[in-house]
Amino acid sequence: MEKSIEMIWKEGFLKNEDIVIPKINDLYNQKSKNIIDKIIRMMKINNVVLIVFAISLLIYTLIFKIPVILGIFLFFLFITQAIYATIQINNVPDIDKNQNSYLYLKSFHSWLKGQISRYMILSKFFYPTCVLSASLILWFSEGREEIIEKLYNQFPDMIFIYGIPLYLILVVLLACILVFIFSEKVYKWDINLVYGRVFKKLEEIISDMEELRN
């Protein structure tokens, strides 16, 4: 005779010794695999990278005799971003995991969306800043004369603005504009690659729950 699922369940868990409890060691020191904890960890790592990068830039400008004012400017630019990121981390709400599943998923989803939209705005300025910084450092590095000479040989009628070839300014400007325009797309692509599956799953679960609520 066919058993009902209730019967299978009851019989299956009748003997408690059948339930093998996994061994867990040093649990508290283990890294959480929860997506919220993981994103916060990533934000903290990004922050450390920003600070290290800012300090490295300052040291680089001092060692390689690049105008120190540029080093200080870049240092403060990256440190400002690190401060912004720290504020973001400190503002991460402690999403209560004891809420009912629907509310938990909703607050988790809106927190994620908020983080992504804030970082999307930040990326609009962050990526062009990186392009500009790299260009300025390259410009003030050794070998500049060589580049100008090569460019001058190629384009003898080249226009200079404050000693900088116009073509170079245009190239850097174009790169900055392109990076500014596509920064959102790049960030979205990057985020989708890492969290796309989780977002899709979350949205599916929430819509299924909404169906059950109404």
Partner: protein, 164 residues
């Protein structure tokens, strides 16, 4: 984590965590990761427990919420497995979690359900009332009965001929 907390507040409820984590995982490795994560989150959130509900209800909530949002890549064969709408004749070795073969088959069928349906049926099988199921999942008790009926029909179809 203090071993006292684990022994007094988690171990007696380990069966709840195991039952839920088994339904959301397809391998022993994933299962152990999920179990560990639920224990970790229970410990982290223990100070938020104000005693407004039973501790077991708290465990159900945390376990379900963690399982619904855990970031763990599923193995490739899992996707192929879920693509099918019928159960394999034999339960895979990896899913041979319990000594009771019928229970293993039932779990395999439960894993074919959507995440929400899994939560609903697990709570139902653990004899939670419709109201309790609705409270834990944040849904409407009036719709739970209909949903359970549908889930049971689907499970029956999946299990048809697989269990005697």
């Amino acid at each position: 984590m203090s071993s006292d907390f684990y022994r007094s507040s988690i171990l007696p409820f380990a069966a709840i965590i195991i039952k839920i984590c088994r339904a959301y995982t397809n391998s022993q490795e994933d299962f152990e990761d999920y179990y560990q994560e639920v224990c970790l989150q229970l410990w982290r959130s223990k100070d938020n427990f104000k005693g407004n509900s039973e501790w077991s209800t708290w465990v159900y909530r945390i376990a379900l919420n963690v399982c619904l949002t855990l970031l763990k890549k599923k193995k490739k064969h899992t996707h192929q497995y879920f693509a099918s709408d019928s159960l394999p004749d034999e339960v895979s070795i990896e899913n041979h979690a319990f000594s009771n073969e019928s229970l293993n088959k039932l779990y395999e069928a439960i894993r074919h359900l959507s995440e929400v349906d899994r939560a609903v049926i697990l709570l139902y099988l653990d004899e939670k009332t419709y109201q309790e199921i609705a409270d834990i999942t944040g849904t409407n008790a009036n719709n739970i009965g209909v949903r359970i009926k549908r889930i049971k029909e689907r499970l029956k179809k999946l299990l048809d001929g697989k269990i005697n």
